[in-house]
Amino acid sequence: MATDAQRVERSDELALRSGEDVVRLRQAVRERAVAVGLSLVDQTKIVTAASEIGRNTVQYGGGGIARIAIVANGTRRGLRLEFSDHGPGIADIAQALQDGFTTGGGLGLGLSGAKRLCDEFHIESEVGKGTRVSLVRWKPY
């Protein structure tokens, strides 16, 4: 997925297969967010977004991986998260993104909320092949 030219300073990979993995993911993202120097609110936002997408990966994607990378774009630094799975994929991404919160749960919950919490959000999905989501949160200065 193309985004602004980014240099990767450090990258880690985590398997996402269970609820405990999502907890581990939250902790790892928090650590990196602190390392990048994000404010407490921005840290919380990206950790929460990671939790939403990570959960989707486990519950709807049949499990997958998360890549956490500290990235740089010129003088700005940021945190980029990439989630990928080989699950059933999302048929109508636009619809999924539009769904606000429904009481019954469902994909829309995680996606639209996570998108609002990040500076950059990209999603690719193909039915029967899988889904990839990438999120970035930049440190403002």
């Binding site: 907890v23 840290q43 929460t48 606000g100 749960g105 909320g113």
Partner: protein, 118 residues
């Protein structure tokens, strides 16, 4: 199996969440609380989330569910100690936890519960 402890304080139940919960643990808490409200004939539940530095949509829904279920069982729920960063994020997520009463800390939460009892 790992569980979040539920303490009894008079007619009320107190739950202090201090760990980063995985989904299963949250669901277990929901079940345990519902059972205890009935078993102890509790009139209120105080949930202390002052140690939580992340509350995502799943936990948010757990909180709403607990409040709804307690109401059905004729008990009040008060959530206390939400951290500012968590509150800001929840609002951004679009979760307003309507129907959940909140207070700054355990002391005020208890006062609220006792007020509504009177």
């Amino acid at each position: 199996m790992e569980r979040i402890p539920i303490l009894r304080m008079g007619r009320f139940l107190l739950v202090t969440i201090q760990v980063d919960m995985h989904d299963q643990l949250a669901l277990t808490l929901q079940d345990d609380l519902t059972q205890r409200i009935v078993a102890d004939r509790a009139r209120g539940v105080l949930m202390d989330i002052s140690s939580l530095d992340v509350v995502d949509s799943f936990i948010g829904r757990m909180i709403s569910n607990i409040a709804a279920m307690s109401r059905v069982l004729d008990a009040q729920t008060v959530v206390v100690g939400m951290q500012p960063a968590v509150a800001i994020t929840l609002v951004e997520l679009g979760l307003d936890l309507a129907g959940v009463r909140t207070a700054l800390n355990v002391e005020r939460g208890m006062a609220l519960l006792q007020q509504s009892e009177a």
